[in-house]
């Protein structure tokens, strides 16, 4: 009787510890207190892109659209983690950063067709390269939504209306999630 009661109490304490540890982990993760996987790669990537984006801003301000496009083009083969690295699959931030660069490049090319113009098919291939295979798995973010929206715009220009609508729907779905988070006050 007595040993059974003690076993029951120990079991409850153990379950409490496990539950508490789990809740603490979830709480820290929600508060962004757990560092992303391989922080060194993410920090290097974030800092490099911050510098590159500022350089592109400066070139655009000076009217050097060709230079801005060239800077963004140079990033296509640049700093992205390898496909088989943990970061590329696991860390949504790196994917969002890549989508940001590709989105900015394609937007700039669409707005300035007179500068080193590319055919629509060429721009579509840039978008698909930027989206990669992990676009559907990444957490909702506006950069992925913009890339899908640009894909829709390009499909529309090619007269591929069904494909355009599908791409627009993906973008709207992501933005809907983000808006819901904003309205709901979710982190």
């Amino acid at each position: 009787m007595t040993s059974g009661r003690w076993t029951q109490r120990l079991g409850l304490v153990g379950a409490g510890i496990v539950l508490g540890a789990g809740l603490m982990f979830v709480g820290l993760a929600q508060a962004d207190r757990i560092a992303p996987a391989r922080p060194g790669v993410l920090v290097a990537l974030g800092q490099k892109l911050e510098v590159e984006h500022r350089a592109v801003d400066l070139k655009i301000d000076r009217g050097d659209i060709a230079g801005a496009i060239a800077s963004l083009e140079s990033l296509r083969s640049g700093p992205w983690p390898a496909e088989d690295a943990d970061l590329a699959r696991a860390n949504d931030v790196a994917v969002a950063l890549r989508h940001d660069v590709y989105g900015r490049l394609v937007r700039l090319r669409l707005d300035h067709p007179e500068v080193d113009g590319k055919p629509t098919a060429g721009l579509l291939s840039i978008v698909e390269e930027g989206l990669g295979e992990d676009a559907g798995e990444v957490d909702a973010n506006p950069f992925t939504a913009r890339l899908y929206a640009l894909q829709g715009e390009l499909f529309e220009a090619e007269g591929r209306d069904d494909d355009a609508l599908a791409a627009y729907e993906k973008a709207l779905e992501i933005n809907g999630i983000l808006l819901e988070r904003e309205l709901g006050g979710a982190p």
């Binding site: 560092a35 992303p36 922080p39 974030g46 950063l97 950069f143 939504a145 929206a149 829709g152 933005n175």
Partner: protein, 174 residues
């Protein structure tokens, strides 16, 4: 830890926008920002249109619906979704302007058909709507990414300090 940001529906956003406009001598316009706030509020708590306004919207939609029975050619379907999106965006803009212009309480004035027809200030294409949404969502997303990078930098600093403090790595002095 407890510094709470006001929600997007908090009236103090509108007060701040109005105050900023007044502080700059009424230069510039905050109407587009206010329209977005009203749109968000409407999305949170949709308000029904008055019968007259609803009739006006239906009068726009009916010609598009009429004659759509049976087989539709590819160009008719193409016309459909683009015009549908345009009408939807125009209706949303009209609703926002209609409710923004009306007082919070009391009887609503009869809708001005001309104003409703001229109301849509938004580009009725989906790509433009998505670009507008991106412009709204981008700053918060960039701040979030900056936070993630800063968290990574903090983790690196912690790792470095831990490696310095580890036994066997400290010292050098006799």
């Amino acid at each position: 830890m407890s510094d709470e940001k006001p929600g997007v529906l908090d009236p103090q956003w509108e007060d701040a926008l109005r105050a900023g406009q007044a502080a700059e001598g009424e230069r510039g316009s905050v109407e587009s920002e206010l329209a977005v706030l009203h749109l968000l509020r409407h999305a949170r708590g949709p308000q029904p249109l008055e019968p007259d306004a609803l009739d006006a919207v239906w009068s726009e939609l009916e010609p598009e619906i009429a004659g759509q029975g049976g087989f539709t050619t590819w160009w008719q379907r193409l016309f459909d979704w683009r015009v549908g999106v345009g009408v939807a965006v125009a209706s949303a803009a009209a609703a926002v302007i209609f409710f923004a212009a009306s007082p919070a309480q009391g009887p609503l004035p009869p809708p001005d058909a001309d104003a409703v027809a001229q109301a849509p200030a938004l580009d009725p294409t989906l790509s433009a709507t998505l670009q507008t949404q991106f412009d709204l969502l981008e700053p918060a997303a960039r701040a979030q990414i900056d936070g993630d990078v800063a968290a990574g930098r903090g983790a690196l600093r912690t790792e470095l300090l831990a490696s310095i403090a580890a036994p066997g790595t400290v010292g050098g002095a006799p």
